[in-house]
Symmetry: C2
Amino acid sequence: MRVVKTIEGIREALSSAQRPVGFIPTMGSLHAGHISLIERARRECATVVVSVFVNPLQFGPTEDFDHYPRDLDTDARKSEEAGTDFLFAPATKELYPAPPRTRVTVSGLTDRLCGASRPGHFDGVATVVNKLLHIVSPDRVYFGLKDAQQLAVIQRMTEDLNLPVRVVPCPTLRESDGLAMSSRNVYLSPEEREQATVLNRALSLATEQVKTGRISRADEAAQLIRETIRTAPQAEIDYVEVLSYPDLERVHEIRDQQVIAATAVRFGNTRLIDNVIWPGKEDS
Amino acid sequence: MRVVKTIEGIREALSSAQRPVGFIPTMGSLHAGHISLIERARRECATVVVSVFVNPLQFGPTEDFDHYPRDLDTDARKSEEAGTDFLFAPATKELYPAPPRTRVTVSGLTDRLCGASRPGHFDGVATVVNKLLHIVSPDRVYFGLKDAQQLAVIQRMTEDLNLPVRVVPCPTLRESDGLAMSSRNVYLSPEEREQATVLNRALSLATEQVKTGRISRADEAAQLIRETIRTAPQAEIDYVEVLSYPDLERVHEIRDQQVIAATAVRFGNTRLIDNVIWPGKEDS
């Protein structure tokens, strides 16, 4: 595996790379979820590129940009073990040599769920992904379904802007007790860590009720999830929503279309997200 | 020359094309200015692609989208004569199958000059050029300096988003009496057509005064241009501005940096633009 720090360097390295090129953009702090994306790209592509870049554009002024965990040596070791050919790890100045004036925005999808409490976040994501896709020019780009709203935004952006890349959604990986893997899990105290399992339990319970038909309405499902999460004394709910997916519009009956049940919950200073997608009619 | 109407078709046609690929995006109604861009691409590139697409996203609700001149047969003939290999002429539905949610915006540069009276115009330009660059994947893209603000926006966008393309600025072509070539010149009545030469005369007069040192301040140059244009009785000035180029910031002394003297003037219902760029210190 080669570690490349410059735009020119990665372009040159990839100019003679075998196609298809698979790409996994990350903010580092690689966990088993990221590794599963790399391993999938390894199975499907001749060349695998991972980027590690903590993107300032997608952090709000009061968010954890400065304290976001960074450990390039560990990320490099894990990437290499998972089969990465090129690790692209540019400095902030390499991607933003001057304050950028250009933004890629996706309206509608970005003002709800995480977008409501993180204004500008998804513009920052869409913009940096646009840049990275121009730099790496991959055939396939891999994203985890844990960040389902991010995935919907990226899919919509690549379609609207005719980006010549296939977006590959990958399932959420979970710890043995069901907690969705996240780079932010390391922030949790032991007690918060234990209570955080309530997200997956709440979503699983609702899934069961929907499958058996005991719950059919979006608001009932959201209510059940909310009540279950509230059983964890330290959980502070940011949102629980059941919306169409990937359009993220209000729905009434769950079975009429594919929907997402999505939640964001704070434990102390740490904000965790999780979701489940229900396929609608195909499921019945 | 091949005329291609679909995204898939042009991608397939270009997948085996010889590099470098030169690209001239247009809204059709090709005049000698466009032809000069095509001929330059022909000299510099192995493959030349011209697009003809009247982009609804860059027209305001009261602007001339419906009446913008369209004549694909004539455009095809002229493109072929100038040496085009592929003419990409998609229908509106091909580029916008659904209302697009994604916009590419360039802040700062786009709220002044033409952007002040045409809100959203340059977002529409930046967005469609981003799409076309993703579809055609050219090595070089050619733009005329007549639309100097558009050129500045595109240059800034390609830099900020790391688009792997070289933007090639090309000089404005003029009629024998100095009027800058434009697809909108056909709207002018004979009397308006005669008076419209005042734009180039005003800019040339100011250029002379700047060169000889009789004018050194931006506001003096703008004033001279304004007064000269006002000698044409039907001219209604939208703006006359002398700004830094390509950053389009206010300047005091002309010689301190490269500046643009830019103007937009209405004759009846037709709005014409013209400009001249003064290179600053290199000129002295």
